[in-house]
Subunit: 393 residues, 2 copies
């Protein structure tokens, strides 16, 4: 089904029964289109807000939807520890739990097992670890990861992989890539046939182009519904990340969505879409919003800075988001300095609004065949605002 | 102007220029009516959400308005320290700062100087103290308190008073009451004539009825626009608080609003309205909401409790508030246990919704002459739910 040719959007009353991806327009390597599936349509390129523990932090689900987010991400590691996958299933699944009826993508849990848990032991079978919440012991195999994602009710599920922090020795990178490849095969068997849902493979290979290509080719042989590029944005320079995308992209099928995991800054998004990426997730807009940092059409604004204390201007008077348009920087500064929850709420809202606005801008530009112009104008606006801020001290 | 007889509500296009209070209906000692002033109408009995530092914590101002709150409270102590009254005035005042265009009542700052600051020195002139934020030294006199409340742009201003914690010696209570009385006179002079705004006096006298009556009589002689009862809900039993209201009420003019400061639980509100109180403020619904505690039509629910972990029911399916009606207790439990901001947002929202619903219920009941029935039904519903919870363990 995922190999069907691009098709027109189904009529409103006919809910699609299968996961499909279509490309509507391309501009260089960039493309715009849509994933359709029973729970809804994801316009691509898409930014997926991160809903770690069944909540996009400091946001009502209704607001996330209203900003134009078509899909949110849930973290399997967090949800398996609390409230637990079996409990979540008894409660009707993650969608009903968090009142999000659109598509949900879940990661495999592997990345956060590595970064958050203690006493990890990894072997061919999987990984054993202790919960960072209560110290309980858990085992995660490729099969259990898929089982958990199924219990959560995830629409787009990710294979279990091993992600190596960079810099690392090529031998360690190769070993983790080969293990991830074998785990992809086991996840594919465990996932089976689920026409309305999707299992994505994850290209590993660190900063070694040859390993990246080998990983991509092996995954494409498994004929999965989508392909992610993992193990980036883990400390390497942007240039390395972009080089890895460029190495992998020619080996990924044009008819399948491509997802760059855990990326990134607005500039990362622009440059990655230009290189053919269709999907992103990142905690940056939500985390930054909780720490007084705004991403705007005019670049990054640190509201903690004393220069904003009497600035009556909003973050962006032309924004459609009330948080960016209606509240003064002086007020946001006050809320941030006073550790007020409303400060986190407003800046998270404003940041997610800007991220969605940027994605919508890219989709329209690709459709109009002017992505390069759009990217240039966007970067120029950031740079001009940055220069003004520097000049003012 | 504040002595004008009760009048009909002005037409929508004619903004009132004066502060007026009218009683539309009475039921026993309870009454319902409205305060009208240039910034809007306050339906009484009214509960005022507390917006300590220019924000009702974890709420967008639009939500507070939509719940039916006609007025919010701002804390002079917090706002004088951050962002500072002169800065607030340069930014256009508190209303513009926090995007609240309805009436705002500010306290005098005195209560929180006593409870939050360090190195206090109190004499006839006022109180000298150090900020709990940055240790800077400040002086607050009755005149400076009124000046600050004016700079904030407050619509209903409170006299500076000295509030004694109970239990206390009658001599200490009498001394503080007399000082508060003299400060009321100085505040009245400092406030001058401001037809669209109001200065309220504060009845003190601790738990000594004779001192309460003396305080009330002295303040009534000053012909202020409203009278508060202060120094209660500071640790004394509810019966003492109610006895003090009963002692004071006959001495307060029927044509002026009566405001019970810092109160209280839903049951406190019911019993105080039955005794003739028109206005309340309390941090309880907002603070409880940040600590996992819900106030509902069916009593208090502690969402932290493990019994809610798989409870798919919402807090109150009949509520008009999405937070009470749409989210499961299991989800709220998960958010509270995970220290998620959304948990605080939803429970604060739900609690304020219930408080406003309770006030609206009391206003309608007074109008219908059935407040006693309403109070009885309300308490019975709380008690029945409490008994069920106890039975279930």
């Amino acid at each position: 089904m995922q190999n069907a040719p691009p098709q027109a959007a189904p009529p409103q009353d006919a809910r699609p029964t299968a996961f499909t991806f279509r490309v509507d327009a391309a501009d260089g390597h960039a493309r715009t289109g849509a994933i359709t599936m029973p729970r809804g349509t994801i316009r691509t390129p898409a930014f997926m807000p991160v809903g770690t523990a069944a909540t996009v932090k400091a946001m009502y689900p209704e607001q996330v939807r209203d900003l134009g987010a078509d899909v949110v991400l849930g973290n399997t590691y967090h949800l398996m520890l609390r409230p637990g996958p079996e409990r979540m299933a008894r409660l009707g699944g993650l969608h009903r739990f968090m009142l999000w009826d659109g598509p949900i993508l879940t990661d495999s849990g592997g990345f956060q097992v590595m970064s958050l848990s203690s006493l990890r032991k990894l072997d061919e079978q999987g990984v054993t670890f202790r919960s960072h919440v209560d110290g309980t012991a858990h085992h995660m195999s490729p099969e259990r990861s898929i089982e958990i994602q199924g219990l959560l009710g995830s629409d787009i599920q990710m294979q279990l992989d091993e992600c190596v922090r960079l810099p690392a020795e090529p031998e360690a990178i190769a070993r983790a890539m080969q293990l991830s490849r074998r785990w992809a095969e086991r996840c594919r068997v465990a996932f089976g046939e689920q026409p309305g849902k999707a299992l994505f493979g994850i290209v590993q290979g660190g900063d070694v182009p040859a390993l990246r290509v080998e990983s991509a080719r092996a995954l494409v042989d498994l004929d999965l519904k989508g392909y992610a590029i993992g193990g980036l944005a883990v400390g390497e320079p942007q240039a390395v990340m972009l080089a890895m995308i460029e190495a992998v992209e020619p080996h990924l099928p044009r008819a399948k969505p491509r997802y760059l995991m855990g990326v990134g800054t607005p500039d990362d998004l622009l440059r990655s879409v230009e290189r053919g990426i269709d999907m992103f997730d990142c905690v940056m807009p939500t985390r930054a919003g909780r720490h007084g940092l705004a991403y705007t059409r005019h670049g990054r604004v640190n509201l903690r800075n004393a220069r904003h204390a009497e600035d009556a201007r909003p973050l962006d008077p032309s924004s459609a988001c009330p948080a960016s348009r209606d509240y003064s920087r002086a007020y946001l500064h006050h809320l941030v300095r006073s550790d007020e929850i409303l400060g986190m709420m407003l800046l998270t809202w404003s940041n997610l609004a800007y991220y969605q606005e940027l994605m919508a801008g890219m989709r329209a530009a690709i459709r109009a065949g002017r992505l390069a112009d759009f990217a240039g104008e966007t970067r120029e606006t950031w740079a001009r605002a940055e220069a003004e801020r520097t000049a003012r001290g």
